[in-house]
Amino acid sequence: MGTGVKHLLDFQGWTVEGIQGILETADVMKEVLERPVKKVPALQGITVCTAFFENSTRTRTSFELAARRMSADVLTFAAGASSLSKGESLRDTIETLNAYKVDAFIVRHHASGAAHQVAKFSGKSTINAGDGRRAHPTQALLDAYTMLKEFGKLEGLKVTIVGDILHSRVARSNAELLDLLGADVTLCGPATLLPKELQKGRVKLTNDMQAAVKDADVVMALRLQQERMNGGFLPSMSEYALTYQVNERLLELAKDHAIVLHPGPMNRDLEISGSLADSERSRIIAQVEYGQAIRMSVLYHLLVGKK
């Protein structure tokens, strides 16, 4: 059972049915992860390469564990210790890895579009594990799955995403996916971090935190990417925390059943209050757990029956 789609670079070319297939299979994978022996033979004989050109711990380990739990062989490539530091190009690196008869690439890169290039250079199934500001589709899928587990449906759900929208691949992918699945998405942040061009479909933009959070079902705080803050986007971190922090007081405006998400890693008490992150409204740990099931499901849909 496949989706008929070779890559997961973003959601271009994906149908609602294809996405629903991944979300449904994630239920099966979640059940596998609850077994005493958390391993199935679905990807036996398949070699998956995690090609991470940008630092990541949680996404890489999540993907590697997902692949291993489906019995795939995993080739781990980390740019820091590679020939990239000796000047090798992305193309040559991928062609070298490809020569090891890899069946699929899982790519993270600091440049938007790099996953597209890997798909082109390798010709193999490619999963985007985050490229620049562009897309992080498995994060969006696991976020959607978390909402689905909570509310049973996504249609009509009011989802508010707060923070550094400009630099966020998580926000872009979530907006794209949730809009496709019928949720109402509000992107909120200071005007310097909120590109007006992202307003389309059911996706709304606002600088007003109170209006954004009012009657929300889901509030997602994004990490403030301080490493990309060289353009004078914010007067100060403290002013940002005062104005755009997701905290208990703000959550009083949301629906009673509202949940809080964060893609991690968190800057506690900056974009989200530590106490809220630890509260019963938080589903931050559930996101990580579901991420495993989602990534197993994505690998299954893209790779099973392809070899």
Partner: protein, 418 residues
């Protein structure tokens, strides 16, 4: 020695005629004298050779991308008889000795004629003026810090005033670097969807506005390179009306491509200034028609294939286009009836000469014999593998184009024969 080029047509005529050239000059049309050498033009249309005011030939220092031999051969193949090379080489062309050596080498090569531009400031750092008079004496044709932007308005002002005293113009890459930031493409819907850092149209417009004001202040001639936005063009239009001694150029890629081309994340389309929107491209074309745009320039910017295969953040800016510029513009705009051949040729030749205060090229007796024959009847696909340039990639690869140059003469010598 007399050369006869027979069976050629003048623009707007179907009559086959003969052009006679002697000692590097046009001797006349349809003479009864006998020539020592004859070339059969086979019905091609003849025009003065094209003039390029903006090419990156990469020598000295970046010969892996291009050198004088490959770049000037590419220019001749593109129908150009004269090329102004940009000084952002390694080292920068801010030393009279480099200017002299470039001209001497180009003369030996015998392809298109080279007129090097020199840096306006030492090392193109934008801080101290280069030795402009000495650079002029060595043969520099203009001054520019292109490749970089002139952030210090006062340095630009003094440079323009000084250059004006020498009778030369200053040309500028007009873009506010503090607004451009790390933008790699046009800022807009497409850049936001692709998650790529954007370069706003306002970065160009704001800088053009400043520079037009400096031209008004100084009365010194200023040439604005590769305009890419409707807004900046409008500012030039208003500046010209106000009497600013400003000229400007646009490039074929900004007229024929938009930021939509970046959707495939192919860094081949990464150029500076970036490909803008359809509205910008249409406004630039309007500028060609109404005379706001003085000339066409290619901003031929060759790179190695490996460099252009890097990711969108790492890959360098630039498209090589000197070999396809005329056929591209002819096919897209003359064949479709949007502009006349006469007007297009003016933008590629006389318009450039007027910007530089050079003698306007002609095919009349006594004129310098810089001549191109253009095949307007037959189409040929763009094949980057056949480029004379070292850069063997092109956004227009595979496109069937008309108007290919078949013969280029420089000073009466054959510089290219297709």
């Amino acid at each position: 020695m007399m050369l006869e080029i027979k069976n050629i047509k003048r623009v707007g005529s179907d009559t086959l005629e003969s052009l006679f050239i002697e000692d590097g000059k046009i001797r006349g049309w349809n003479l009864s004298e006998s020539a020592s050498e004859t070339i059969d033009g086979k019905g091609a249309t003849v025009a003065p050779a094209l003039i390029e005011l903006h090419a990156h030939l990469r020598e000295p220092g970046q010969e892996q991308k291009e050198d004088l031999a490959s770049g000037l051969a590419a220019a001749a193949a593109g129908g150009y008889g004269t090329v102004v090379s940009m000084p952002n080489t390694s080292p920068v062309v801010d030393d009279p000795g480099i200017v002299t050596s470039l001209i001497q080498k180009a003369d030996r090569l015998g392809f298109a004629r080279l007129k090097p531009a020199a840096a306006l400031t030492r090392g193109q750092k934008g801080e101290t003026l280069a030795d402009l008079a000495a650079l002029k004496d060595a043969g520099a044709a203009m001054f520019t810090d292109d490749g970089r932007t002139n952030e210090n308005a006062n340095v630009l002002r003094r440079g323009m005033e000084y250059a004006s005293g020498l009778g030369l113009l200053v040309s500028v890459h007009a873009e506010d670097a503090t607004l451009r930031q790390d933008g790699v493409m046009n800022e807009g819907v497409v850049s936001q969807e692709l998650g790529l850092p954007g370069n706003p149209a306002a970065a160009e417009a704001a800088r053009v506005a400043r520079d037009v004001e400096i031209a008004l202040l100084t009365g010194a001639r200023l040439h604005i390179q590769h305009l890419s936005t409707a807004r900046a063009l409008e500012i030039v239009r208003q500046g010209k009306k106000a009497g600013a001694p400003v000229t400007c150029e646009v490039c074929p890629h900004h007229l024929t491509l938009t930021d939509e081309a970046l959707r495939g994340f192919d860094a081949m389309y990464k150029v500076a200034p970036p490909l803008r929107t359809q509205q910008d491209a249409e406004a630039l074309f309007e500028g060609l028609l109404d005379g706001t745009v003085d000339c066409l320039a290619t901003d031929h910017a060759p790179h190695t294939q490996a460099e252009k295969e890097k990711d969108m953040l790492e890959a360098p800016f630039g498209i090589p286009s000197i070999e396809v510029a005329f056929p591209l513009m002819y096919t897209r705009f003359v064949k479709t009836g949007k502009i006349s051949l006469e007007k297009l040729l003016d933008l590629f030749t006389a318009g450039c000469a007027r910007v530089m205060n050079w003698e306007v090229p002609s095919l009349e007796e006594g004129a310098v014999a810089d001549v191109v024959l253009l095949d307007l009847e037959n189409s040929k696909a763009v094949d980057p593998k056949s480029f004379k340039s070292k850069a063997r990639f092109s956004p227009w690869a595979g496109d069937e184009l008309y108007g290919w140059p078949v013969l280029t003469l420089v000073n009466g010598r054959v510089a290219f024969q297709g």
